[in-house]
């Protein structure tokens, strides 16, 4: 009975649909956002079809061609072990995107429920959770990631977890703020009056309305996750050689800066362009979803 009534009433606000459509139209008009989307699509394709696109395998070693500059055979040159840089960058795209997406997924999966429950229930639990978040936010991101690595150890899986956990407080804070604003709205009151259980109210009525901010944050967070993972790789605390991870590639290339600058220039450019793509798309999404921007 409740279910039928709840479905009959426009509990999820009809604006939600047109809001999304309007945001999509707005996004399509944003040229910077489209460029960002195109960059991401390009890197996704490169990562997905790495084995078809890369002229060499990521670990194919040609010691006699060590540190060779760009040539027709290998357009971006070769590294200290004579491995083709372009091929390693293409395989690295797969690795960086996987790290970025998994780290963000960890952040969202842990942070969103914590924020939603904390904000919806309030009281002592909320107070405790918020103080824990305060403490986590008291550590700058890179420091928290370093602490996690000190505890978890060095490696690829460890950095995904470390970078993911570092972003948990951000999502928890963000979603809590949204839930606090939403929980006293009429459509939530209506659902409650119709006898909907807490879990159902949070999952079906409140969380869909926080989706926009979470998507924007997650997009921007992929950018910072890729940067953090590369930073840890660069410090020798993330992916380990011979992995074709961009940060780790820079770490081993830095000693050849004078001899073979191309080994340093291209991995850094790859990181920068990918991160720029996510930043452009994230900014455009925020503009599209933020009503204040729409008015102006």
């Amino acid at each position: 009975m409740n279910r039928t009534l709840a479905q009959a009433l426009p509990l999820r606000e009809p604006i939600q649909v047109s809001g999304g459509t309007r945001a999509w139209r707005q996004l399509k008009r944003n040229r910077a956002g489209l460029v960002g989307g195109a960059i991401i699509a390009l890197f996704l394709l490169a990562g997905a079809f790495a084995s078809y696109l890369a002229p060499y395998g990521p670990y194919d070693t040609f010691l006699e061609r060590s540190l060779e500059g760009p040539s027709r055979d290998s357009p971006l040159g070769r590294d200290e072990l004579g491995r083709d840089l372009l091929s390693r960058l293409i395989y690295g795209a797969r690795l960086s995107l996987v790290i970025g997406v998994i780290a963000v997924a960890i952040g969202v999966v842990l942070g969103v429920p914590i924020g939603a429950l904390s904000g919806y229930h309030g009281g002592a639990a909320d107070l405790v959770v918020q103080r824990i978040i305060d403490v986590m936010l008291a550590f700058p991101g890179i420091l928290l990631a370093l602490i996690m690595v000190a505890i978890l150890g060095v490696g690829l899986t460890q950095i995904m977890v470390a970078v993911g956990i570092v972003s948990v407080p951000t999502y928890a804070r963000l979603v809590r703020g949204q839930v606090l604003a939403l929980r006293s709205q009429d459509f939530v009151e209506a659902a409650r009056a119709l006898g909907a259980r807490t879990g159902r109210i949070i999952v079906h009525h409140i969380l869909p309305n926080t989706l926009a901010v979470v998507i924007v944050q997650a997009t921007l967070q992929v950018a910072s996750a890729i940067l953090s993972a590369a930073a840890l790789g660069f410090l020798g605390l993330g992916a380990q050689p011979p992995a074709a991870e961009w940060g780790a590639m820079l770490s081993s290339a830095k000693q050849y800066l004078r001899l073979a600058p191309h080994t340093v220039v291209f991995p850094g450019l790859a990181i920068m362009i990918t991160v720029l793509g996510f930043n452009l798309l994230g900014d455009a999404l925020r503009d599209a979803f933020d009503p204040r921007m729409r008015v102006s």
Binding site: F234, G247, L250, G268
Partner: protein
Amino acid sequence: MWAYIAKRLILTVPVLLGVSFVVFAIVRVLPGDPAQVLAGEAATKELIEGLRRDLGLDRPLLVQYVDFLGSLLRGDLGRSIRSKIPVTSELAIRVPNTMILALAGITVATLVGLPAGIISAVKPYSLIDTGVMLLALAGLSMPVFWSGLMLILVFAVLLGWLPAVGTGTPAHIVLPAIAVGMTSAAIIARMTRSSMLEVLRSDYIRTARAKGVAERVVINRHALRNALIPVITVIGLQTGTLLSGAVLTESVFAWPGVGRLMVEGILARDYPLVQGAVLVVALSFVLVNLVVDLLYALADPRIRYE
């Protein structure tokens, strides 16, 4: 105002306790026996036993934590496993270097970011605005360790104008300061632009223009002063971030600061050193944020009456 300061100070206490607990926990949550970890892999059984007794690892966790807090307050952070000298002595050498780099970095960031943001806001959606904002976004997207290496490549290797790594002369700080300040410059430019744009749209600016005030005066005297309040906060927060976030820049430029000490500690599994470095960095971050909050309340009465 005093009530606000008191409230803000009281709120800092649980955060500081939490920070100290995290630092305390670093060694205790490691897999395996903390005494074994602290003593190193080559340690003898007697050494490990001695260390376990010294650290009081056989006592309840809460007692251990209270003891740890006591040592912190006495300024005792233990000894480095690697060098055997007290962690506080190691930190005393490194902290000033990190502070110098952070100050130089924030100076570069402000000198670049502030004017860039103002120019962008005064001519919104123009070619120059688009250019500045694209540059700012590129600055945000650039890994700081890579921009550091690029600066070394251009100014030290190719042009030979500046020293690549190390310390000693004022010239040594130029490249690290630019590298570490670049991201902050981008953040300051973006914040200045959006804050200026918001102020420039407000009614009192329209009034000033309507009564014929010269545009230069409108920008400098009417708009900039109000727009700068949130920007100053961002500059303060960035200073805190630079104090802690110089880890990468310090590694690239072999700058002997706290960040590099921490990475060396992690790689060498020198946990007392890691604990000391984490504590100093987190404390300075919390304290800088506190000072920024208080200054913000001084500058903007709306905050303290909320």
